[in-house]
């Protein structure tokens, strides 16, 4: 039971990192300025690296090898939250998603640095610096554009309002939630969500952006149990297109 709980936890984190990493990588060559294009692409690469590390942990627990897991599953078998699979849209949405998601990411791994599951704890310690940069990058942009011009504030506000129900979907609880908490593997989605709300409030209060009262935000769940939007399967088809031509090929 404990193994199943840990696997479910690893899968959802890994799938979040893979899918959002892939989405963010779609900005490569199209970023709003050259420096940002490079930064956003590098962070996308970090996320893919983090997903690989997590898939390797799963492989050590008896799951299929990372490439198979990443490229051969259909959307119903992915555990990422729907937020990560939504198309990029305009840069304002991608930036708001980066800010909201990566705030949860840094807090989640901060919690995992206390995990009794040692390989996960070690990974969480190892990537502290990467996550620190993602968080710094996201908050710096939000502070800048969230108080720059009428247009930048309006665009971010619209994307924020659209994103919040999806962002709350990050914290969909696992069927194994109580096992994870009692086993001290992970302190749970509710604790994470509360810390995340505080962190989001803290950054946004330095901007002109408005948060609705949290009680009015209806979370969009489903991703964690494989109920995805129509956007995930096309993403997977494209991402695994080359791999599926010859899954046994050596690269």
């Amino acid at each position: 039971m404990k193994d199943e709980a840990t696997k479910e936890l690893l899968y959802k984190i890994a799938d979040d990192q893979l899918i959002l990493g892939h989405r963010n990588s779609e900005w490569t060559g199209f970023g709003p300025l050259l420096e940002e294009d490079i930064a956003f692409s590098s962070m996308a690469q970090d996320k893919l690296g983090q997903s690989l590390a997590l898939y390797q942990l799963l492989h050590q627990m008896g799951e299929a090898p990372p490439d198979t897991v990443a490229f051969m599953r259909d959307s119903v078998n992915f555990h990422n939250c729907i937020f990560t699979e939504l198309p990029n849209g305009e840069y304002d949405f991608s930036l708001v998603r980066h800010f909201l998601f990566d705030a949860s990411e840094i807090l989640r791994f901060e919690m995992l640095r206390e995990s009794t599951f040692i390989p996960l704890k070690e990974l969480a310690v190892k990537i502290t610096g990467e996550l620190r940069y993602h968080d710094l990058h996201a908050r710096t942009w939000m502070r800048q554009l969230g108080s720059a011009t009428g247009e930048s504030i309006l665009r971010l506000q619209q994307s924020l309002t659209f994103s919040l129900p999806h962002a709350m979907g990050i914290f969909e609880v696992s069927p194994y939630e109580e096992d994870l908490i009692s086993g001290k593997i992970f302190a749970g989605e509710r604790v994470l969500r509360d810390r995340w709300m505080e962190r989001v409030e803290e950054t946004l209060k330095t901007t002109a952006l408005q948060l609705p009262s949290w009680g009015t935000v209806e979370p969009i769940f489903g991703g964690r149990s494989g109920k995805h939007s129509e956007h995930l399967q096309p993403l997977l088809d494209e991402m695994s297109e080359v791999f599926r031509i010859d899954p046994s090929a050596e690269w």
């Binding site: 420096e35 490079i38 690469q45 990537i127 610096g129 620190r132 800048q144």
Partner: protein, 204 residues
């Protein structure tokens, strides 16, 4: 002397007029200094565009330190770098620095970071710190304190307080960088696979 090195030309003598033009078209520039490891001095790596100092730091991190190793990074607005004249021939740029009217001061002014260009086409490297009441005085004090007699082509003075440094907490930003060898061409060795392929197609 007009240098063809873009890094040399990027620091204009007449900053004000340039800045007005820049404001209409794009963000201003910030210069980026990188320390590859704790035993090495900081050196100039290039410039990033940014609306302010903090964003310049964020942009510089991936624009200039996404490969190899890095232990620390700092940025400063281009217009805040005070530059000496470029030297000609075998002149030492230190020797071209004029004494400031207020005289030689070890005044309890500000601290300045001094960078020197030791070879044309290479990066300016950190040479030390001086105390001074003005950038001009910083130059003069650098001439007296940091001139080792070997030729340098240009001297820069940057007020320490104008710099956005890497904080102590941020020391871990490059923690996993040495593992990202996939970002460098040397990580892709196709030679043997190519040989194997050619042998196979030749024997057909």
């Amino acid at each position: 002397m007009k240098s063809l090195d873009p890094r040399v030309n990027r620091l204009p003598q007449n900053v004000t007029s340039n800045k007005e033009e820049a404001a209409l078209t794009q963000f201003g520039t910030f210069e980026v200094f990188v320390q590859p490891n704790p035993k090495k001095p900081f050196q100039h790596e290039g410039a990033v565009h940014s609306p302010n100092l903090e964003m310049a730091f964020v942009m510089a991190k991936e624009a200039f330190t996404r490969r190899f190793t890095c232990s620390s990074l700092y940025v400063v607005e281009t217009s805040k770098i005070f530059t000496s004249a470029m030297s000609e021939g075998d002149q030492n740029a230190f020797d071209l620095i004029q004494k400031t009217p207020e005289g030689e001061g070890m005044s309890n002014g500000n601290s300045y970071e001094i960078f020197i260009l030791q070879k044309r086409g290479k990066q300016s490297v950190h040479a030390g710190q001086v105390l001074a009441a003005s950038p001009e005085e910083a130059m003069w004090n650098a001439r007296n304190q940091l001139n080792k007699g070997t030729q340098v082509f240009q001297v820069w003075a940057i007020r320490t307080d104008d710099i956005r440094f890497t904080t102590v907490d941020e020391g871990d930003l490059w923690q996993t960088l040495p593992e990202k060898k996939f970002r460098d061409a040397s990580d892709y060795k196709g030679g043997e696979k190519l040989k194997e392929f050619l042998d196979k197609s030749n024997s057909l």
